[in-house]
């Protein structure tokens, strides 16, 4: 089975600037997080995948179709939710979503029926006949989500879907994305700089920085490749406890009330010994779970060190 997205030595230049630098990857169907800081090349990659701009060199394929040649066939099977506001304010929610369905190729009757269904899914059932200009930011985001789903595409690309939302709205949007990610036969690319969003929704991640691929793979596998660490929380003076750990040859990092240290054979016994010696009480001891953010930062750090050396 061909991969959902595939790039081979993909490069895109804008005059002197190389926005994408020789990215090669093959991603299977599923929920894929595309993360990286601003200027990482995420948006340029999306533009190439949508067939809107050609690569300077290399190739990109979506659904085993060449993005440079088969842009229309690709966009027939892709729903795109842009980051920025892009709605037609004078239209009603239902009219806009149905209209976008028709521009995607749905017959008029089907487009309207699906627009009703998809607006119900996004929680805009009651407000669908109101003008978009009267919608709140959260409602606008939901209309943007609805227009991306109206033609029921096998692949949806969401660009910063939680941007500008309050905490409740963000949770609601992530909930919708989680439901969409769980649908069989449907894939998504979630482009964001909010790494927590990716952790909640995606099972695979593509990390980019300065136009280059930092890492790509299953989230669980990438997390497992991090350092094997344990986290200890103690009742008492953590600095005293840390000194006792250092005396035993360990390298603790004190982070507020927690102490993090690299796991080694017999380290647990030494931790309890150090606690006894420093007069603190161990409240919990657990393996450190790396967040995507930590992973991303450690990869950035490693890349920077590699560049220096």
């Amino acid at each position: 089975m061909p991969p959902l997205l595939e790039t081979v030595e993909l490069t895109r230049r804008f005059d002197e600037v190389e926005a994408i630098r020789g990215i090669s990857m093959a991603l299977p169907a599923g929920a894929i997080g595309l993360i990286g800081p601003n200027g990482a090349g995420k948006t340029t990659l999306l533009r190439i995948l949508l067939g809107l701009i050609p690569p300077s060199s290399g190739s990109a394929r979506v659904f085993d179709k060449d993005c440079e040649v088969d842009g229309i066939q690709i966009r027939e099977r892709v729903g795109y939710m842009p980051e920025h506001d892009c709605l037609l304010p004078e239209m009603s929610g239902i009219g806009f979503v149905a209209y976008m369905g028709r521009v995607s190729g749905l017959p008029k009757e089907v487009a309207f029926r699906r627009a009703h269904e998809v607006l119900q899914f996004t929680g805009l059932r009651e407000e669908r006949y109101r003008k978009i200009s009267e919608y709140s930011v959260g409602m606008r985001q939901r209309v943007k989500l609805a227009q991306a789903l109206v033609h029921d595409p096998p692949l949806c690309i969401f660009d910063e879907p939680t941007a500008g939302l309050d905490p409740a709205g963000r949770e609601g949007m992530l909930g919708l994305l989680q439901i969409l990610a769980s649908r069989p036969g449907r894939s998504m690319v979630l482009s964001t700089h909010l790494l927590g969003d990716v952790e909640k929704v995606c099972d695979r991640v593509v990390m980019m920085n300065a136009g280059q691929l930092l890492a790509e793979g299953r989230l669980s596998d990438l997390k497992a490749t991090g350092r094997d660490e344990v986290v200890v929380r103690v009742k008492g003076d953590p600095l005293l406890f840390a000194s006792a750990l250092r005396a035993k040859g360990l390298s603790p990092e004190v982070q507020r009330s927690e102490i993090r240290l690299v796991r080694s054979p017999g380290s647990e016994i030494q931790i309890f010994a150090a606690a006894r010696e420093s007069g603190v009480q161990v409240r919990y001891l657990r393996p450190a779970v790396h967040t995507v953010e930590e992973l991303f930062l450690s990869l950035l750090e490693a890349r920077a060190k590699g560049a220096v050396s």
Partner: protein
């Protein structure tokens, strides 16, 4: 209330071909332009053209015998010669064409259009089609109705009415392409509809003023080719057998077609450079 993935009540249909997709845009834009101001302008234009077509024929019929056989065909030229037709058509073009692309630039909905399975060319064709249809309603339909009225009232014979209809169609279609081209191009240059509308009006009226002024100062009538109005009048005078126009109708027609093609190309070029997914 629990939420669940959308369950569509209809199975996924085969997507309609590209003409249906840009047809949806065309339909939407055509309806969106159905505003009171545009209908008022269309009404004024129709009234002006019908009156300036039917009344001269009525008067000519009253004095039948006093006019030569060729004079009647020339009567179809009257609506184009007064300047009212051109002025109202410029107003209509400014009104319907101003927001055709600029609103999509302002709302950034161009992103959504171009991320759909259509090309920039499809988008431009659909948008231009909506503007062209409205200008067609003003540039061709009233004069064609005028021909039908003079025929039905017995003011003109069938061959004469057909000649009038053919001339009206030629002049009207040239006006439709030229005014649509400039409207779409200027609308694509700005994200402010009012500015685009003022630009359309200014370019069309300004070119007429400049052409007339240069022709008068230099005593060179060929400066008239700079003005769409002068070119349309030259084509009309050729079509209805009115002599005396210093401009060649064929050259004028070629200039209008070239002007239309250039503005369409420029509008397409402008869209090529438009950011679809901004960084």
């Amino acid at each position: 209330m629990s939420i669940h993935a959308p369950e569509y009540s209809l199975p996924p249909p085969a997507l309609r071909p590209r003409p249906d997709r840009w047809g949806a845009i065309l339909e939407s834009q055509l309806l969106e332009r159905g505003k009171a101001l545009n209908f008022v302008l269309l009404g004024l234009l129709s009234a002006a053209v019908l009156l300036s077509t039917v009344v001269p024929f009525y008067i000519a019929t009253l004095f039948r015998g006093g006019f030569g056989p060729g004079v009647s065909a020339r009567l179809f030229f009257i609506p184009f010669s007064t300047g009212v037709w051109f002025f109202l058509l410029v107003l209509l073009s400014s009104s319907v064409g101003a927001g055709i692309v600029s609103r999509d630039l302002a709302s950034r909905s161009l992103t959504l259009y171009l991320a759909r399975p259509i090309t920039r060319f499809d988008y431009l064709v659909a948008k231009s089609g909506a503007v062209a249809a409205w200008i067609f309603f003003g540039a061709v339909i009233p004069s064609s109705i005028g021909c039908f009225i003079v025929l039905s009232l017995g003011y003109a014979s069938l061959p004469l009415a057909l000649q009038g209809f053919g001339g009206d169609l030629a002049v009207g279609l040239l006006a439709v392409t030229a005014f649509t081209g400039i409207s779409v191009f200027l609308s694509s240059l700005s994200s402010r509809s009012a500015l685009a509308g003022a630009g359309i009006f200014g370019v069309l009226i300004g070119s007429e003023a400049v052409a007339v002024l240069l022709a008068a100062i230099s005593n060179q009538p060929s400066f008239g080719y700079l003005s769409p109005d002068e070119n349309l009048i030259a084509v009309a005078s050729g079509a209805f057998g009115v002599g005396g126009d210093p401009l060649s109708p064929w050259v004028a027609a070629v200039i209008l077609i070239g002007f239309s093609a250039t503005t369409f190309f420029l509008a397409y070029w402008r869209l090529e450079g438009a950011e679809v997914v901004p960084e």
